[in-house]
């Protein structure tokens, strides 16, 4: 039983080992290995989740047996295990669902390197989830940045390179600020482990003028991670990044990478600053305001987008605004809902990014809205899953998005502050209408037959090139049994999780609440 305490470390170290191993395998073997390996990791983190639920308390893994104020630690509680499990399932689904497109987008001799990067990314994600040391957080933050840049540029077209350059420049800016924040906090507290840091921070805050120094360091940290995760004024890098990446990468970048940064920030607020102290700082209210602005501006930009990927990217900006609004709202329910939204959005957005390329494939490889008219009837399964995910994003009951919005409203009532309540309700109402506007419009579009020549001609040209299929049928590689399965299995898993989050939302909320109790 106690052997399970080693599992969090295994998820990090074995991923690093796997990334080296994938370099030596050929493309298909690397994919098979990665899929099996991700399943293994899911089992490991499932075991950790089970273990901490049974014992009812978080455990600390001390590396090298150096006790608390020194050394380096991994800390595992219900919340970390739940997030690790969700992230790994989404990662596995993204790899499976985007495989066909990976074969098109990536040079075949380089596919094994893609999986090297995926494993490296897994290691970084796991480390950011489990670590209890802020500098380890910084190191894996950079590894995550480099790996995500790698999976972005693997599709060698001009725009991806440009998108990668912009992505990297902003990310380096964020990393630099994060490093400065870590250095400032270290010089204030003299610790790098999170729990001793919090004790020191409490003393500093109690002293005269201490709040300013802590606030400044925390502001630098928040801006750094805000840039990386796409907080309101910094979301303009998203459309190019998500829009030009290969589907697997787009799903991983939007669903996991930005969420890992947010979780690290969340961890810093809880463990380094202490949530009671954090709620008194002005950054708290600032996050609330920026979150709401992100929700509104992201949605407005999404309405104005001309291609479906740009729309999804801007919608990610809006959904990340929801998470930050929850973080800034305060009160126990606010944090729980922010985490619930984090999971709900990851599940939905990853499937959306895996689905849209299939719609594009039957529309002459175009992601522009005018060419996507009627694509839902040409590839029925993709149309159905796109519609289901859109319903979740809009917030239609029985889907995860609805529960998230409902809990945000409940959380706003529970704060007991009239201003917060009013602002949240108004923001939720406006944002839901805007969401409905662009998502449902897209759903209607993909089921409406196009007018005019250009719209219908796109798939026909494609069909003439491949004489063996009828006009409007899905392309060959997706018609075979394995082609269908590789899309249906991940799509069904992700939709299943989505429905579970929507129908049995209290189960997840209960787990998150228990996790938060042992998180600090």
């Amino acid at each position: 039983m106690d052997f399970i305490r080693n599992f969090p470390l295994f998820t990090i170290v074995l991923s690093l080992f796997s990334s080296v191993l994938c370099m030596m395998l050929d493309g298909r073997r690397a994919k098979r290995y990665t899929v099996c390996y991700e399943c293994f990791l899911i089992a490991l983190s499932g075991a950790v989740l089970w273990y901490v639920s049974v014992t009812g308390e978080a455990f600390t893994y001390v590396m090298g047996e150096f006790p608390a104020p020194w050394g380096n630690e991994i800390r595992a509680g219900i919340l970390e295990a739940l997030l690790a499990l969700t992230f790994l399932v989404i990662l596995l689904c993204s790899v499976l669902g985007g495989w066909r497109f990976l074969l098109i987008d990536v040079e075949h001799s380089k596919i094994n390197l893609y999986f090297t990067l995926i494993n490296l990314l897994t290691a970084a994600l796991m480390a950011l989830i489990w670590t209890n040391d802020i500098f380890t957080g910084y190191v894996f933050l950079e590894i995550l940045t480099l790996a995500s840049c790698g999976i972005l540029i693997v599709r060698e077209i001009g725009r991806t390179t440009l998108a990668a350059v912009r992505y990297m420049v902003l990310n380096l800016l964020g990393s630099g600020l994060f490093l400065l924040g870590v250095v400032l906090l270290y010089s204030l507290t003299g610790h790098l482990l999170m729990v001793p840091m919090r004790e020191a921070v409490a003393e500093i805050i109690a002293a005269d003028g201490g709040a300013i120094t802590v606030t400044f360091s925390l502001a630098v940290l928040t801006i750094g991670l805000g840039i990386k995760s796409g907080l309101f004024p910094f979301y303009f890098w998203m459309p190019d990044t998500y829009g030009t990446a290969t589907p697997t990468s787009a799903a991983i970048l939007s669903a996991l990478v930005s969420k890992a940064y947010i979780f690290l920030l969340f961890k810093i607020y809880w463990r380094v600053i202490g949530i009671d102290v954090f709620q008194e700082l002005p950054i708290h209210d600032l996050l609330f305001g920026l979150g709401i602005l992100g929700m509104l501006f992201g949605s407005v930009s999404a309405i104005r987008a001309n291609s479906i990927h740009r729309m999804l990217a801007f919608s990610s900006a809006a959904q990340i605004g929801y998470i930050y609004m929850g973080l800034g709202m305060g009160g126990p329910m606010g944090y729980v809902t922010a985490l619930f939204q984090l999971i709900a959005h990851s599940v939905t957005k990853s499937l959306l990014f895996l689905t849209t390329p299939r719609l594009a494939r039957v529309s002459g490889d175009s992601l522009l809205f005018q060419n996507l008219q009627g694509s839902g009837t040409r590839d029925r399964s993709a149309g159905i899953f796109f519609t289901l995910c859109s319903f979740s994003m809009v917030g239609i009951p029985i889907f995860a998005g609805f529960s998230a919005k409902l809990f945000f409203a409940v959380a706003a009532v529970e704060t007991g502050k009239l201003g917060v309540l009013f602002a949240t309700m108004l923001a939720l109402a406006i944002s839901s209408v805007l969401n409905a506007l662009y998502f449902l419009r897209t759903v209607i579009r993909i089921y409406t037959a196009g007018r005019g020549g250009a719209d219908i001609s796109a798939p026909r040209i494609y069909a003439e090139a491949h004489n063996d299929i009828d006009a409007g049928e899905p392309v060959p590689e997706t018609r075979t049994l394995s082609g269908r399965l590789s899309y249906w299995i991940p799509a069904l898993i992700l939709t299943g999780i989505n429905l579970f989050l929507g129908l049995f939302s209290w189960v997840t909320v209960d787990v998150i609440q228990r996790g938060l109790m042992m998180f600090a």
């Binding site: 500098f135 910084y138 190191v139 950079e142 940045t145 480099l146 840049c149 790698g150 540029i153 001009g158 725009r159 390179t161 440009l162 990668a164 350059v165 912009r166 990297m168 420049v169 380096l172 800016l173 990393s175 630099g176 600020l177 490093l179 400065l180 250095v183 400032l184 270290y186 010089s187 790098l192 829009g243 030009t244 001309n306 291609s307 990927h309 390329p357 594009a360 490889d365 175009s366 992601l367 522009l368």
Partner: protein, 129 residues
């Protein structure tokens, strides 16, 4: 005012570190040329490292390596900041390497290193998949 200046002078290393950081940050943000952006990033990181190193150094104390047996705790400095600087330098080097290779790829494609120009060029291309 006078006190602020005196305080800055007394902590000149930290003040210099923050100035370096801000210089690097503005270069990274506002310079069009990708290579200069990268130089800016390196200056920015150097600022953080200088801050760490100056915090970790205490005049008159030695590195915590036992040569003639253990003296008192007061004789040694904390080795962690130096370790952090080293780790940070490694991270910074690898990031720079990746960014330089990206710059090469960008230059081969667009024949310019000015990010704004590249952005204008790419607008004329066919969008998306």
């Amino acid at each position: 005012m006078k006190e602020t200046v005196l305080a800055l002078l007394a902590n000149y290393e930290e003040a210099a570190a923050i100035m370096l950081f801000v210089i690097g940050l503005s270069m990274l943000l506002f310079h069009g040329n990708l290579i200069k952006k990268l130089i800016g990033m390196n200056i920015m990181d150097t600022g953080s490292f200088l801050f760490l190193a100056s915090m970790g150094y205490i005049e008159g104390r030695k590195a915590p390596i036992l040569v003639d047996g253990f003296r008192s705790v007061e004789d040694y400095v904390n080795p962690v900041p130096a370790g952090l600087v080293l780790t940070g330098i490694v991270v910074s080097v690898s990031v720079t390497a990746v960014m330089l290779s990206l710059s090469i790829r960008l230059y081969r494609r667009y024949h310019t290193l000015n990010v704004d120009e590249v952005y204008l060029l790419s607008r004329h291309q066919l969008e998306d998949r």
